[in-house]
Amino acid sequence: MIYINAFVFCGLVCLLGQIILERTKLTPGHLNTILVVIGCVLAGCGLYNKFILWAGAGATVPITNFGSLLVSGALQGYYSEGFIGLLKGLLVNASAGLSATIIISFVVAIIFKSKN
């Protein structure tokens, strides 16, 4: 059942993105930024965790999850350490994805040659 939910949720996010790209003059860079901001706001309202419970990886695969990870890290930091935890915890949950992306991109850029 969770596979169907994952299909529907992830598909709907991509569909929304495609509609934005078709109807406006925004580039994919704008689109991803908008989606991250939407993810932050949804996580701030406490909705994103419910999406993850409902759709599983369907909600963690789109880029909106990056915003949700940032907000959840900051809130966890606040609950354990107070206001200083907001800054200390902001990147904690998102760290794995961000670090992996930077490291893998660097290694790939060193190994492969661009054709242009």
Binding site: I2, Y3, A6, F7, V8, C10, G11, L12, C14, L15, G17, Q18, L21, E22, P28, G29, L31, N32, T33, L35, V36, V37, C40, V41, A43, I52, A55, G56, A57, G58, T60, V61, P62, I63, N65, F66, L70, V71, A74, L75, Y78, F83, L86, L87, L90, A94, A96, G97, A100, T101, I102, I104, S105, F106, V108, A109, I111, S114, K115, N116
Partner: protein, 144 residues
């Protein structure tokens, strides 16, 4: 010929991309990405006994790996021209943006090329993500 006429001619000659078809394709490709992610998560969770949050994280790392290597091999742009947003919105698009920025500038050197330009396309995602996340959490904490 004045400008409005010129624009009309351009519009009639432009190849029409089928908007509805693109939207349906991105829905299905995006959905398949979700199913693929869920399958990977289940494998990490049930076969390798990671916790559920770690499984989600490892799934994200796997998708980043796939997106980066496909970009390195030069396949990603061809696939995206068919799949559209189905591969841009998942984490593969984030990996593609960072890897292609690094690859395009690697000839200019390690520091001035890759170092200065690797965040050229993804910088805005990271910047606005962090700024908005900070203020959203601050507001949430203050409100209660």
């Amino acid at each position: 010929m004045d400008k409005s006429e010129y624009k009309k001619i351009i519009k009639s000659k432009k190849p029409k991309e089928d908007e509805f078809k693109n939207i349906i394709i991105s829905f299905f490709v995006g959905g398949l990405c979700g199913i693929f992610g869920q399958a990977l998560t289940d494998i990490f969770n049930k076969c390798f006994h990671f916790s559920i949050n770690d499984s989600y994280m490892l799934t994200m790392v796997s998708l980043v790996l796939i997106g980066s290597v496909l970009t390195g091999l030069g396949f990603f742009d061809k696939v995206v021209s068919f799949c559209k947003c189905g591969l841009i919105v998942p984490t593969t698009g984030f990996a593609h943006a960072m890897t292609s920025a690094a690859m395009d500038t690697r000839n200019e050197g390690l520091v001035k090329g890759i170092g200065a330009n690797i965040f050229k396309l993804t910088g805005s995602i990271i910047l606005y993500g962090i700024v908005v996340a900070f203020f959203v959490s601050l507001i949430k904490v203050i409100i209660g």
